[in-house]
Symmetry: C2
Subunit: 422 residues, 2 copies
């Protein structure tokens, strides 16, 4: 950033360049975008040492300012992390090109032929916290979908992000591709975010990645549409007709495979007829994993070690080794509980009953609804999207894992032979 | 509205009822929603006289307060207008049920089967101006898509809207369907709109219908996603390879068939090699229709009566018998002009050249892009959507005419046999 510029002027300048670049990216052929991604992967390969030197500066500054060990871990770009970043670019590049595909080109009674073409959104602003690999992942995915990006990373990763962005741009230049297709907001001034989310003339969508606090703040402030991911208070409902062994496996996997992720299980619901049988079996496994149980009264009759759950527990996303457990009288109570207390992220039923499986799928109002599978599958890779920019808990535009399709939109195309309207 | 209630309490009460009703509507079968629509059509039929008596009160009040003749016309529910309203409900009811359809249910390497289910958005707030028929049209379309609605019409139509809403609710009651699926904001207090667009706990999307001023105000204020329709500064580009007779017909139809609509032509671009041939032929027809021409310098060399266009003319949506005309050196200049000055609504090329037709379709960044057809076709009925709630000039979620699909969203469904994540 030119020091003589105000933050606002700087951001408007970036925005104008992004808008101009977005037109060029959208106009580029799939082969050209693919060539640019290949060149980016090569540039990152060549610039490993520069990137790691910059990362060392961030790590030193982070240690000096007292960042905790997990934060430093997320910040660190060791050889394996860089290799994963580069591999990620190549994986994204191997996905089918979504841009320009025309679907449903049907004739209408007037004689015109109407279809829809998948096209880029334009300029995507990404706001993220400490992990510098997001700089590469987000830029690659957005570019594959034909968009320009404005990347605003966390201040603790600024040197790493600058080095990565410079490398990406070297790659773009080497491919003869418009460099401004990927721009880093290279200032740690917090006012930059305020400008970014208000520049609706230059930015088409904002994707914030980080904690709930960050995302709520950005959504409240933004004048640009936001694809947002709030909390994941995920449920498993063990139905009256559940296979008990399957229920135990799914609950333990959904809760314990990883604790700090949005698709981890937070609240377990169990049909009253199965509580005495299934809950002790689940509890034995949870206790072995060191998971605390907070239960309703009926739960506590079966699981002696469970502490009493409060109303707040049913709303809680623990992101840790705690599980809330409630015994419910029937599937309607389970669905009502999920739709009321849940966060509309991912919810699963375990059942062998056909009708109740269909009912659960239809009536649970969440971005992912599952039968006989672990909530941990709610993920762009597992769903076959190839990669994801995030998981949307919004209802409009993109819901659930957001891949290339969520980074594009559909416009109508009309082919005629001179038709006029009567 | 209960007079002892504050506007805020009143709106929160409506919102809570709408949220509860939305769950019931979403749970209803297609046959039940269809039965409700049939009953609404019957109730409106039975209540014709009550509705017209209420409408007379609005018309009298409107005359007394000095509404102009076009406003009174839009407000008037004569026999034909009521018949159209009822026919509209039946047409919407005859559309295929979009709710619950599952697509792309593919197996993944883990063994889970992942697809997407089309589901209602939930609660839709419609804010509109004088035409009381919107009360019926919007309620019917939203209900068909499985949503509950909160309808806020113009104050000048309040008595008509109350009578219509009461009739709709009589129909819902007769069908044994949840009445709160359709609620009218029965107060003319302007604060009600402010509450409606901020109740993100109860309202999932706002659809404003009216002038650009209303829509900009609502978008600025709203904390709920807005499907908005701003202006339609539509273009026709007559290419070097255009069929001259077709170009003349399309331009005249797009400009003159109706002036006050968003898909009418506002700016004509003509390739420099065809200006001397095509522009006089177009002008002869436009002059006969009484259309004023505002042209660039080269246009004025060919059309003597044209006045000089200013920079502001290229941005203008006239909605009247005026056309801006510019001669351009090539298709790139035409596309650049459209993407810069246009409103990304609807733009057409007239050409017999295959490559330039493809280029125009790919590079014009508008909600509808056409080859050899009049811009006037940009319309939900003409596109085969059956009906439309409006035309979106947004890029996210719905772009162009918004029908049943735009009033729904997709959630992921996952079918497993006990899969857990490794």
């Amino acid at each position: 950033m030119n020091v003589s510029m105000s933050v606002e002027d700087y951001m408007v300048d970036l925005g104008r360049r992004a808008r101009a670049a977005a037109r060029e990216v959208a106009r580029a052929s799939g082969a050209q975008r693919s060539g640019a991604l290949t060149a980016i992967a090569r540039a990152l390969e060549a610039d490993r040492e520069i990137i790691q030197a910059a990362n060392t500066l961030d790590l030193e500054a982070g240690e000096a300012s007292g960042l905790d060990a997990p934060m430093l871990d997320r910040l660190r770009l060791d050889d394996a992390a860089i290799a994963r970043m580069i591999e990620g670019v190549r994986q994204v590049n191997s996905l089918p090109d979504p841009v320009g595909a025309i679907s449903d080109l049907d004739y209408r009674p007037s004689g015109i032929q109407v279809g829809r073409m998948r096209v880029p959104l334009g300029v995507i602003g990404i706001i993220y916290e400490s992990r510098p690999n997001v700089t590469v992942d987000a830029a690659a995915l957005c570019l594959k979908a034909g968009n320009a990006t404005m990347l605003r990373g966390g201040s603790e990763a600024i040197e790493s992000n600058k080095a990565i962005a410079a490398s990406i741009r070297r790659g773009l230049r080497a491919a003869g591709f418009v460099e401004d297709a990927v721009q880093l907001v290279a200032t740690t001034d917090r006012a930059a975010v305020g400008h970014l989310v208000r520049m609706s003339a230059y930015v088409d969508v904002i994707v914030p990645r980080g904690g709930k606090g960050l995302i709520e703040r950005i959504s409240a402030e933004s004048r640009v549409p936001v694809i947002k991911h709030l909390d994941g208070n995920c449920h498993v409902y063990v139905d009256a007709a559940a296979n008990a062994a399957m229920a135990v496996d799914i609950v333990v996997n959904a809760k314990c495979q990883r604790y700090g992720v949005c698709n981890a299980l937070e609240s377990l619901l169990v049909h009253v007829d199965r509580a005495a049988e299934v809950l002790p079996a689940i509890d034995a496994r949870l206790a072995a994993e060191g998971v605390e149980v907070r239960g309703c009264e009926l739960t506590r009759e079966v699981i002696a070690r469970a502490v009493a759950a409060t109303e707040a527990d049913w709303f809680e996303e623990y992101l840790g080794p705690i599980l809330a457990v409630k015994v419910v009288p029937d599937i309607d109570a389970a669905i009502a509980h999920i739709n009321h207390y849940g966060s509309a992220h991912t919810d699963a039923i375990v059942t062998d009953d056909y009708g109740r499986a269909r009912k659960f799928l239809a009536e649970v109002d969440s971005s992912s609804v599952m039968v006989n599978a672990s909530t941990r599958f709610a993920d762009g890779f597992e769903y076959g999207l190839g990669a994801e920019i995030g998981i949307s808990t919004d209802k409009l535009h993109a819901r659930g894992p957001v891949g290339l399709e969520g980074l594009t939109t559909l416009k109508y195309v009309v082919l005629g032979d001179g038709q006029i309207r009567q």
